[in-house]
């Protein structure tokens, strides 16, 4: 019984509590900051840079199926996607399709 429940306790403490405390603190902080203030600009910049760091890590240090792929292929795929994205007036779907397509083609050629 205790053994069956343990993974859920683990998820609640190390997963739910570990993430939601920051969301609640965000509500408290957001209630006090003016939308147009310089503080808000800083908060926006920090939030974006944090997400950007998560993205960079997913590309440069991936886990799972991508772990065995060469880094030049992953970075090259993102670069190809970026070129398509900007060449076609920030076309989001096209950028994504080109990036994923480049990766898929590269993996296929490399036989991984």
């Amino acid at each position: 019984m205790a053994d069956a429940l343990w993974p859920y306790v683990f998820i609640v403490v190390a997963g739910w509590l570990a993430t939601d405390i920051w969301r609640w603190l965000g509500v408290v902080a957001g209630n006090r900051i003016d939308e147009n203030s310089e503080t808000m600009n800083w908060v926006r910049a920090v939030a974006t840079a944090l997400v950007a760091a998560v993205i960079a890590k997913l590309i440069v240090y991936p886990t799972g199926e991508l772990e065995g792929s060469p880094i030049w292929l992953r970075v090259g795929a993102v670069a190809a996607g970026a070129v398509a994205f900007f060449a076609f007036r920030r076309h989001q779907l096209l950028g994504i399709v080109v990036a994923i397509g480049t990766l898929a083609a590269g993996l296929y050629v490399l036989g991984t």
Binding site: I11, G15, N41, A52, V60, Q92, L107
Partner: protein, 247 residues
């Protein structure tokens, strides 16, 4: 029809349903595909499907879940796992703090924002920051609730179904699904940015994410966010003030 003729309750219901429709938007579909990738990751690691569905509802943020699963698979103790997950989730605080003033009005109770904040993760955040300002202020909380609660619920069901299908996927498909998450987040932030400082923070954060991973891997995301965000803010502000000064 006169806007005042519609009762407040009807307005809220209207915007809630409009938000629910966001499940068919590109961001939502991209996230769902990323969750198929996540289902493959957990199925491969041998985490039972009930636990995967449970954590999808409870944790919600995909990067935090990837770290949580990594901790569970490596047999880390609960304290170590808590620290790793919580460090990856500090970003929730500025994200929620930036979102709250965008969507709430003077009458919105704080308890409601605390409950709804649970549904904030990168996709719902990008979606709301991009679209909320186009919606009348009184409908924004309902709109966000409609979108984010639908998105979370749909993905709980999705991982439960995908879990049993993905083991038959060839590795190439799995790799592409994993890669979708960062590529989709990148384009979303660029497309949804309404302030110049966002572009600066995105570029600096990408570079510093790698730099700090090499220097201080335990605190890389936190440091890249604080240092990179502050640099971006400072640089953009200097340029803005100089431009305003007409120099």
């Amino acid at each position: 029809m006169d806007a005042e003729a519609i009762s407040e309750g009807q307005t809220k219901r209207h915007w809630f349903v409009q938000g629910m429709r966001g499940i068919w938007s590109i961001p939502a579909i991209m996230l769902m595909l990323s969750f198929v990738g996540f289902a493959a990751f957990t199925a491969e690691g041998g985490i039972p499907v009930e636990q995967v569905m449970f954590m999808t509802g409870m944790v919600w943020a995909l990067p935090a879940k990837v770290i949580l699963v990594g901790s569970m698979l490596s047999g880390a103790n609960i304290v170590t796992a808590f620290i790793a997950v919580t460090l990856s989730s500090v970003r929730m605080m500025p994200m929620v703090a930036a979102l709250v003033p965008e969507i709430r009005n003077r009458k919105t109770p704080t308890w409601l924002m605390l409950v709804l904040s649970h549904f904030v993760a990168i996709t719902a955040w990008v979606f709301a920051m991009e679209r909320a300002h186009k919606i009348p202020r009184d409908g924004r909380v309902a709109y966000f609730a409609g979108f984010s609660i639908t998105l979370t619920s749909a993905n709980i069901v999705l991982v439960g179904v995908a879990y049993f299908l993905v083991t038959q996927f060839p590795p190439l498909i799995g790799a592409c699904l994993f890669f979708l998450t960062p590529v989709y987040f990148l384009t979303s932030i660029w497309v949804s940015a309404r302030h110049r400082v966002i572009y600066w923070a995105l570029g600096i954060g990408l570079v510093l994410g790698v730099v700090f991973h090499e220097i201080a891997p335990d605190f890389d995301i936190l440091l890249a966010g604080l240092v990179g965000g502050t640099l971006a803010w400072f640089g953009e502000r200097r340029l803005r003030l100089r431009q305003k000064g007409g120099v």
